[in-house]
Each structure stands twice: as structure tokens, then as C-alpha cells.
């Protein structure tokens, strides 16, 4: 038996105690470790499953986190056999945000999702929504993330965090890449003319030559703006307000773009200094308007009646009468709207008053700029209008409103009296029919090609311009002995499908052409004047082609 006091005894005792304790510990560890791991994952598992719905996950943070120098990685999870998911955080514009990004083992992005953030909707929040998410998902672990214009801080922060994740993932997966690849600079949105741009949120105002407007983070920017003859002669921003944030500095040196600007000039944002650029534009707009840009209405104090307003220089409206039934006429009108695009509308005039106004969602619709004008609410503004009315334009949709007013004015002018109608050059005098052969349908530029002529019957292929100048086609079979139309078969192309003239294509209506001679008096199909005219034009041409 060893002596209790000997060093050996003590050493042995200590060793035994430690061994026994160690064994006990590993025993308990074996039992509890899987449970602990499962618990740890359970908290994030729901989120992880959004990227790999069938995955089994393992928390491998401890294994790799030491490689991360940035401190932005919260967790690393391995989806067995599939890839890795990183949960990351960083500081955005509104505070800390958390998100996760997953990479498949082959390097493609498996998923990207924001977990929590306090970003501004429409700006920083875009980093975690819709299009941007899709863009990220289409990338690989070697690509930098695109930046978003107007939310530079947040998208740059996201990019930094993802770079940290990429570094570790590419290390694990053995993918080589360039860690210093610059992210794409975002495409700046197309600039809009100052007069059209809604800068009211900048609350710009000018006191003589000194203007102020809200810039980045709501800071008040100041500038000296000198305007001469409706143009900006000089623009000198003070180095206060949002200057010094480090974000929009470039905007304070890129000042050439403002010199010589008028209300119609389109000025681009300075990339990475969207807010500051906007504040500058707001100040310039206010200076040019000689007041505050927040009150667009002030500009249009003097409203002109529809009869007096001059549309010839811009809107250039034109209307064709679709149908006329006594005091009620329907016009298909077009006018140039925003961005040189052609707007169309159907206007019903009843007794020299507009009874209905519906604009087609084409032309400048979809630009977002003038879209407010395309609502039933706005259309109601035009109902009841006469040539003596003045109609307000819709704030933020000035040009579109003008195009609408132009169309209404034109329709009303067309309505008022036979003299006005002739001005239009419309070849149909209301619905009254004329003898076919005497009718002037040259506007429809009908053409005819004889397919067969056996002396008894002739088959002629005809074309003529129908509604919207679309080419209608028809096969006209003419009985040469009686000089009448034996059959009229029109193709369902050309202006068919517009809904406007489709009534003319119905079997019932087509029946009216059977058996007619050259002096027949044919009615327009109600609501399909132009199509009907084109049909008659083709029949005319068919007769002519048969040498009659």
C-alpha cells in the first residue's frame, strides 16, 4: 500500500479522480449533446427550411466562425449534402438587420431572405424584397451583390456581410474567386423633367436667391440659386445640411449639370448621392418656379377653357367619329401625352356635353408618372364638360391631363355642327348610307386582286384599311350576270379583336352584303362605322376590279 504522503500517491489519486470525473462527464455529454444541438437548431430550423425544405441541418458555427474576421456572421449551418446557410447581421440605415443566405455545394445561391430589419420601405427595405431577392438568387458565391440606387448604405452593408459569408463558404467548398470584385453600380433610373418630377417631399422653398430643401436623413440643405430668363445661371450649395455624412459628397462637386437647367431639363442623380441630388433638384425647381415646389397648383392659376386652350403645339389631338345617333356621338380620339407617347380615349358626347370619357391604358400609361390620371375618379372630371369648361389638371400628371383635355376638346369641336365634322375629313356623314358606288371611301385605300373570273362569277381578294388603320381582308364573290355580291367573306384579322368594330364581323351583319348591287345603300353597323366603311370600300374595289 502506498504511503499517503508520497508524491506518487498524490499524483495517482489526482489522476484517478480526474479520470473518473472525465468518464462521468463524457457519459452525460453523450446523452445531452444531441438534444442540445437539436434545440439550438430548432430555433432557426424554421428559417433554414425556407431555403432547403427537406434538409437536415447541423450547426457548424463553432467549426468555422474563427475564420471570420468581420464579426458579421451569427451562425453557419450545414444542410447535409446540399450546401451551407449563413445567418448574418450588419448595420443598415435604420439600425441592425439580420438576414440569411444559402449556398449550394456547387456555388450557386440557394436562397436569400431577410430575417429582421428596420429599413425604410421603398428604400433600404428593397434589399430584402421582390426583385432584389430574385437578383441575388441568380448569383453565385463568386459574385458581388448588386447595389440598389437610393439605398446605397443598406445594400453596401448587405454586400459586406455576404462577402464575409462568401469568404468562408468558398473556403469550405474550395471555390476560388476574387474577393475584391466591385459590386455593379446600380443603373440610375431615367431622369424626369423637373416640371414633371414630384419633389414635394423635399419641402423646398426659396427666399430670394437662398433656397433650402431636405436632403439625406432629413437634413436641411441650403444653396444659392441664381435664375435668369427661366434658366439656372449659377448653383452654389452650402457645405452644411447632409454634407459631411460621407455619403453624398460627390453631389457637392458635380454641379455642372445644374447650370443652364430649365423646368423641362432632365437632370440625373449623382450615383450614390440620390437624396442629396433630389434636394438640389428640388431647390432648383423651386427657384425656377419662383416659389415653393410643393404647390404645383400655383403654376396653373390661369386656367383656359377647353375652347381657348391651344393644343396644336403639343397634344395634337385628333378624333374620328365612331358613331352618331342623333344627339349622341362616340369618338375615338388620340393625343400626344407624356414622353411623346400617344394616348387614346373613347369619348361620348351628348348634346355638346361629354357624357362619358374612358382612356385606353396605353400610350403614357404605365410610366407611373401620369397613371393617376387613368382612374375612374379622374375620368369623372371630364363628364359634363363643354367647350366653355375649364378642367383642372391632375397634380403630378400635368401632361397626361393636357392630352386628355385635348382629346375632349377635339371631340366637342367635332360634335358641334356639320362644319366641324368636315374639318375632320371624316368620310361618313353620320350613319346615313349613300349609294355604294357614289360613296367616297378613298380614305380606306382599298385594293382588289381578282383571283378568278370565269365570266359568270368572279372571286376577288380585297384589302382596305379599317379601324386604327389596320388592314382588313375579305373575299368578295361577285355574280357578273346580275352584278351583285354573291358572297362576302371577311377574315377575322385586321381590326377584328379590337372589340370596337367586331359587331361588323357577326354573321347577321355580314348578311347585309349578300345580294347587293353597286347602288345599294348600306348602313354602318352601329358602333363599327369605320369597319363597315372598310367593308364597303372592299366591295367597291371588287366591283371596280371586275371592270364595272
Amino acid at each position: 500500500m502506498m504511503k499517503k504522503d508520497s508524491a506518487l500517491y498524490k499524483a495517482v489519486l489526482l489522476a484517478i479522480v480526474c479520470t473518473v470525473c472525465g468518464l462521468l462527464l463524457s457519459l452525460v455529454n453523450g446523452v445531452t449533446k444531441p438534444i442540445i444541438e437539436r434545440n439550438a437548431i430548432a430555433a432557426v430550423e424554421a428559417s433554414l427550411k425556407e431555403i432547403y425544405p427537406d434538409g437536415t441541418f447541423k450547426d457548424v458555427t463553432e467549426d468555422y466562425i474563427s475564420q471570420d474576421e468581420t464579426g458579421l456572421i451569427d451562425g453557419i449551418y450545414e444542410a447535409e449534402g446540399k450546401g451551407y446557410i449563413f445567418t448574418l447581421h450588419n448595420k443598415g440605415y435604420g439600425g441592425d438587420f439580420k438576414f440569411m443566405i444559402g449556398y449550394n455545394n456547387d456555388g450557386t445561391v440557394a436562397g436569400y431572405k431577410g430575417l429582421e430589419h428596420l429599413e425604410t420601405p421603398g428604400k433600404g427595405a428593397l434589399c430584402f424584397e421582390g426583385d432584389y431577392v430574385e437578383q441575388v438568387k441568380a448569383l453565385t458565391s463568386s459574385d458581388p451583390l448588386p447595389l440598389i440606387t437610393g439605398s446605397t448604405i443598406t445594400s453596401a452593408a448587405v454586400n459586406d456581410a455576404v462577402s464575409a459569408a462568401k469568404a468562408i463558404f468558398n473556403n469550405i467548398a474550395g471555390i476560388s474567386y476574387d474577393p475584391n470584385a466591385e459590386p455593379e453600380k446600380p443603373a440610375e433610373p431615367e431622369a424626369v423633367a423637373l416640371s414633371e418630377e414630384d419633389l414635394s417631399d423635399r419641402k423646398a422653398s426659396c427666399d430670394g436667391e437662398v433656397c433650402t430643401a431636405l436632403g439625406f436623413g432629413g437634413a436641411e440643405n441650403k444653396a444659392k440659386v441664381v435664375v435668369k430668363d427661366g434658366k439656372v445661371e449659377s448653383f452654389e450649395p452650402e457645405e452644411t445640411g447632409d454634407f459631411g455624412d460621407g455619403m453624398g459628397e460627390e453631389a457637392y462637386s458635380e454641379l455642372e449639370r445644374y447650370i443652364g437647367a430649365t423646368l423641362d431639363t432632365k437632370i440625373d442623380n449623382v450615383s450614390g448621392a440620390t437624396e442629396t441630388s433630389k434636394s438640389f433638384r428640388a431647390m432648383i425647381k423651386a427657384a425656377l418656379e419662383g416659389g415653393t415646389s410643393a404647390n404645383e397648383e400655383k403654376e396653373e392659376e390661369v386656367k383656359l377653357t377647353l375652347a381657348d386652350e391651344d393644343y396644336s403645339s403639343y397634344a395634337k389631338p385628333s378624333c374620328t367619329e365612331e358613331s352618331r345617333d342623333g344627339q349622341v356621338a362616340v369618338y375615338a380620339c388620340s393625343a400626344t401625352g407624356f414622353g411623346e407617347k400617344v394616348n387614346k380615349a373613347t369619348i361620348t358626347v351628348d348634346d355638346a356635353k361629354v357624357s362619358a370619357f374612358v382612356a385606353e391604358q396605353t400610350g403614357d400609361y404605365g410610366d407611373e408618372v401620369g397613371d393617376k390620371a387613368y382612374t375612374d375618379e379622374n375620368y369623372a372630371n371630364y363628364v359634363g364638360a363643354t367647350l366653355e369648361s375649364t378642367i383642372d389638371h391632375l397634380s403630378g400628371a400635368t401632361i397626361t391631363s393636357k392630352s386628355f383635355r385635348a382629346m375632349v376638346s377635339e371631340a366637342l369641336k367635332a360634335f358641334g355642327g356639320p362644319a366641324a365634322i368636315n374639318e375632320e375629313g371624316s368620310s361618313s356623314e353620320g350613319k346615313q348610307a349613300t349609294g355604294l358606288i357614289a360613296e367616297d371611301l378613298s380614305a380606306h385605300k382599298a385594293s382588289a386582286e381578282v383571283e378568278s373570273n370565269d365570266g359568270v362569277t368572279a372571286v376577288v381578294n380585297c384589302t382596305a384599311l379599317g379601324f386604327g388603320d389596320k388592314e382588313n381582308k375579305a373575299k368578295v364573290t361577285i355574280d357578273l350576270e346580275t352584278k351583285t355580291v354573291k358572297a362576302f367573306e371577311v377574315e377575322k384579322t385586321g381590326d377584328y379583336g379590337d372589340e370596337v368594330g367586331d359587331g361588323a364581323y357577326s354573321d347577321d351583319n355580314l348578311a347585309m352584303y349578300n345580294g347587293i348591287g353597286q347602288t345599294a345603300e348600306l348602313d354602318n353597323v352601329s358602333g363599327a362605322s369605320i369597319t363597315s366603311q372598310s367593308f364597303r370600300a372592299m366591295i367597291q374595289a371588287a366591283f371596280a376590279a371586275c371592270g364595272e
Binding site: K4, D5, Y9, K10, L13, L14, V17, C18, C21, L24, L25, V28, N29, V31, T32, K33, I35, I36, N39
Partner: protein, 220 residues
Amino acid sequence: MEKKQGFFTKLLVENPVFGLYLGICSSLAITTTLNNAIGMGVAVIFVLVFSNIFVSLVRNITPDDIHIPVYIVIIATLVTIVKMVIQAYAPSLYTALGAFIDLIVVNCIILGRAEAFASKNSVGASAMDGLMMGLSYTLSILAMSFIRQLLGTGCLSLSNPFNNATIFDIRLLPQGYEIPLFTGQTGAFLTFAVLAACIAAYKNHLDTLEKEETKKGATK
């Protein structure tokens, strides 16, 4: 009757927290809710009982110069086992107690009892001592938690740490009348001070009674 009184007196007077002023760190830090107090108390009882048992078992074969490392290894092992078990089966308690589970190792009560009692007494007695001390500690921190939670949040609540099911949650003070001071560190010290003073007063009272008894006995 005597025995019972003795039992309770022992609990109160030889209270490790308010009587012997041992293990104050944890009593100040975690006594914010009843749940924490019960959780910590059970952990400490477990460690105390088993460390006393093991220390008592090895007391005769451990030479004096290495008895501290031996005791510490034993205590640390037990605490680690407790920690792993809590982490696996009661994760919410684990998050609430946090680092203080590890700090049970250096809780003076454990090593104190090991040195003072378990190294000199039989296994059975040591186990009993561990249990008593543990219970005493638990009651002390329960008292502190009761006061602090009641005054600090106005509610008293208890939930099952294994599945987070609420056992009860009652509001005793109307909303707006709670004193958040008690949930923080200042409140901890205040509560501790008041309770310690009460126990000290009671102790003095008992001492006075005893003196009178012996006096009476002497004069008899």
C-alpha cells in the same frame, strides 16, 4: 415541537445566505423571478448533496495538501453535468440563469460545506447536511425573488422549465404601481439588506432568549 422548532431555526439562523453570508453573488444576480430561484435552488441542492457525498467518500484517502484540487474537480464535474442537463432539458432556464450556472462552482457554500462538514463526517450525515444547506439556500433566494418580482413587476409567475407551460401568472399590484427598481441591481442589494437585517434581528432575539435561559439555569 422542540425538534421542529430546531429544524426551522436552523434553516433561518444557520442560513448560508443571510446567516453565514455565503453565495451572495448568485442570490443578488438571479433572484429576479420565482422560476430562476427554483431552478438555481434545485441545481445547488443537487451539486451540494453529491459533492458532499463524494467528498465524504474520499475524505480518508485524500492527503491534506491536495484536497483542494480534488474537491474542486469533483465540484466542477458536478456543475458541468448539471449545466449540460439544464441546457438539454430546460433551455429557457439555461438562458435565464446563463453564466451563473457555471458560477455555482465558485459558490462559497459548496466548497465551504465540503471543507467544514463533509471532509469530517460520514457520507450519510454529509448528504443530509448538503440537503439542508441546499434547502436553506433555496428558501432564501425564493424569499428574495418573491419580494423582487412582486415589487418589481407587480406579478408573480411560475412556469415549467421543461416545456415552458405556465403554472400560474397572477398580477397582485395594479398596473403602474410596480417599482422597477427592484428588478435591477439596486433593488437586489436593498432586498438583501432588509432580509439580512431581519434574520440578524431574529438571531439576536434568540441569543437573548438563550442567555436568559442559561441565566435561569445558573440561578437554579
